[in-house]
């Protein structure tokens, strides 16, 4: 089983549009939308949801106002500025302490050291994840609650489920739509994958960001390909990006020209290779040939690799 992860460093370079197009060219495949913060792939692949599951993300503290004696120990111990002295009074004290659940990181130290036992520490539901069917094959995706934490752990959950589906359905490939950046959800998406496809636009900002995501793939030992989107916007920078890629062992796999058909396809809720025969669609088809060729020589996806970075409950 192979796993292709689409990443970018910088956001908004066209990862999701690319994921939808590659899925339609590679079908049947398992799709995983690992951009759990801002999941958009469902808007173009129209999943039919078969099962919904709660995502439990560890616990958060809550102070029971009736039991708080306002001693202040919790505020003293909290390293995350999550405890405020503005809770309601309770007959014994005029004010109590209160936990800001959005600032609480779930370490549990306040609950462990409250002598009154006034602090509850319970698991919270931080979102939902779904197993669905699309016309390209099964899909796993999620909706993280607003302002929630542990997106890396949710990504790990999605990838593990996607890998099980590949096996149970006799398929060969998982395509993961990753998130921007180089932090926790991106590391959780890449660790142990067969191949990364890095999508960039030819801009100075992207050149800077590319260098960082490229170093991350090298560090994690994941082979990578580069695709330059909207390449005609600045041909000189497209070349500089490709040169920078070659210098770190990342093979340029193609350029996609700017084409208004891409946005039109998104509005129509379709992938560009299905909605158009224009220059972008043609370039994506050629790109898929190279990505697919390269995938054949890549290692099987290492599900076990996830455990290293996956945040333990």
């Amino acid at each position: 089983m192979k796993e292709l992860v689409i990443v970018s460093g910088k956001g908004g370079t066209g990862k999701t549009s690319m994921a939808a197009s590659l899925a339609s060219l590679a079908a049947p495949v398992v799709l995983a939308d690992c951009d759990v913060d801002a999941a958009d792939l469902h808007l173009v692949v129209e999943p039919r949801i078969n099962s919904r599951n709660d995502f439990l993300c560890g616990s958060k503290a809550r102070i029971k106002p009736g039991h708080c004696t306002a001693c202040g120990k919790c505020e003293e111990l909290c390293r995350f500025d999550a405890i405020f002295y503005d809770g309601p009074g309770n007959g014994r004290v005029a004010r109590t302490f209160r936990v800001d659940s959005l600032a609480c990181e779930g370490c549990g130290v306040c609950a462990d050291y409250c002598v009154e036992g006034a602090i509850e520490f319970k698991p919270v539901v931080a979102g939902q994840w779904f197993v669905s069917t699309t016309k390209y094959g099964p899909m796993v995706h999620a909706r993280l609650a607003a302002a929630a934490e542990n997106s890396g752990k949710l990504v790990t959950q999605l990838r593990q489920t996607a890998q099980q589906m590949v096996q149970s359905q006799g398929l060969e490939l998982v395509i993961c739509d990753g998130s921007p950046g180089i932090g926790c959800p991106v590391i959780a998406s890449l660790t142990g994958a067969s191949l990364a496809l890095i999508i960039v636009e030819p801009t100075m900002a992207a050149l800077h960001d590319f260098e960082r995501i490229a170093r991350l793939t090298v560090r994690l030992g994941i082979p990578a390909l580069l695709a330059v989107n909207k390449a005609d916007l600045n041909k000189e920078l497209a070349e500089r990006l490709e040169t920078a890629a070659v210098a770190v062992g990342i093979e340029p796999a193609g350029r996609v020209p700017y084409d208004p058909e891409v946005t039109r396809a998104q509005i129509a809720g379709r992938s560009v290779v299905e909605a158009s025969a224009g220059p972008a669609a043609e370039a994506v088809r050629a790109l898929w040939q190279r990505v697919n060729g390269r995938l054949q020589g890549c290692a099987e996806s290492q599900a076990g690799g996830l455990v290293q970075m996956g945040v333990k409950q």
């Binding site: 956001g11 913060d37 801002a38 549990g108 170093r215 208004p260 946005t263 945040v311 409950q313």
Partner: protein, 282 residues
């Protein structure tokens, strides 16, 4: 006044809005600071080209175990909610990338075998670009957790600046929350496409959960459709401004130029956006 420039979706133009606003605010005589809180991929420097005066490491406290004292009782591993400590029969192993620096293990150790030591997770760079004071956090490649680096950038904000612009990371989870927390106002930048709308709705949920006042800027305003504007009107979200989709602007951006300097008409557009922003909280 502290204003965060945020978005659910990546690549909508947060940095473009933040650096151009900073430029115009400073030019109009306001003491202005630009803080790049997108520590995973900080790009503001590409446009502002600051002179860096000072660099210092960003550190996070992580535990270290004194093997002379440790009895391998496992109390530290049991209390760690992040799976960052493994207690083996003859060894206590710390996974510092997973550590949230809560200090719980040190408190739990019955024999005082744990000390907390600083570990470098990134760099804080301080300088100026013309009259704009510039600060950025750069997370080390391979570090998973950006919130401690974002906290370090925000803590270093100049106290005497009239306008502090925070360039936020994309998304709606911990890094974006850490940036937006405690701000006076949030500008959400989006584009009028289905992806832009979907992610705007998520970003609105986030800023509402954080109880911050906010408004929306629509970038590449003439691509896509009218659904973002309909959504904002229906939700009574103030529309702060629109930036047109302009080939000359896209090319200037690609070269790392400031739109207000490089492209005709953009100084006026960003000027009225700045005026609207400052009026709201002046």
């Amino acid at each position: 006044m502290i204003v965060a420039i945020a978005s659910g979706k990546g690549g909508t133009g947060k940095t473009t809005v933040a650096v151009n606003l900073a430029y115009l605010a400073a030019r109009s005589g306001r003491a202005t600071a630009y803080l790049d809180c997108d520590v995973e991929e900080p790009d503001g420097h590409v446009f502002l080209r600051p002179e860096i005066e000072e660099q210092q490491p960003i550190e996070k406290l992580v535990p270290t175990v004194d093997p002379e004292r440790c009895t391998y009782c496992g109390a530290c591993a049991r209390v760690c909610r992040f799976g960052a400590i493994a207690s083996l029969p003859k060894q206590t192993v710390i996974f510092s990338e997973l550590c949230h620096a809560c200090g719980g293990c040190r408190l739990a150790c019955p024999v005082d075998a744990i000390r907390e030591v600083p570990r470098t997770i990134g760099i804080l760079r301080r300088g100026h670009s013309g009259e704009i004071r510039f600060l950025e956090g750069v997370l080390n490649v391979g570090e998973a957790m950006s919130p401690p680096a974002i906290r370090a950038v925000k803590a270093a904000a100049p106290k005497d600046a009239e306008l502090i612009l925070l360039d936020a990371p994309p998304g709606t989870s911990c890094p974006a929350v850490e940036t937006v927390r405690g701000c006076d106002y949030v500008v959400l930048v989006t584009e009028p496409t289905p992806f832009g709308l979907n992610d705007l709705v998520l970003a609105v949920e986030m800023v509402r959960a954080l109880r911050r006042p906010f408004g929306v800027v629509v970038n590449r305003a003439d691509v896509g459709n009218g659904r973002v504007r309909e959504y904002c009107a229906g939700q009574r979200i103030p529309m702060l401004g629109e930036i047109p989709d302009d080939r000359a602007a896209a090319e200037a951006y690609s070269r790392g130029q400031m739109l207000v300097e490089a492209v005709d008409g953009f100084a006026e557009r960003f000027g009225s956006l700045l005026a609207r922003l400052v009026e709201r909280k002046a």
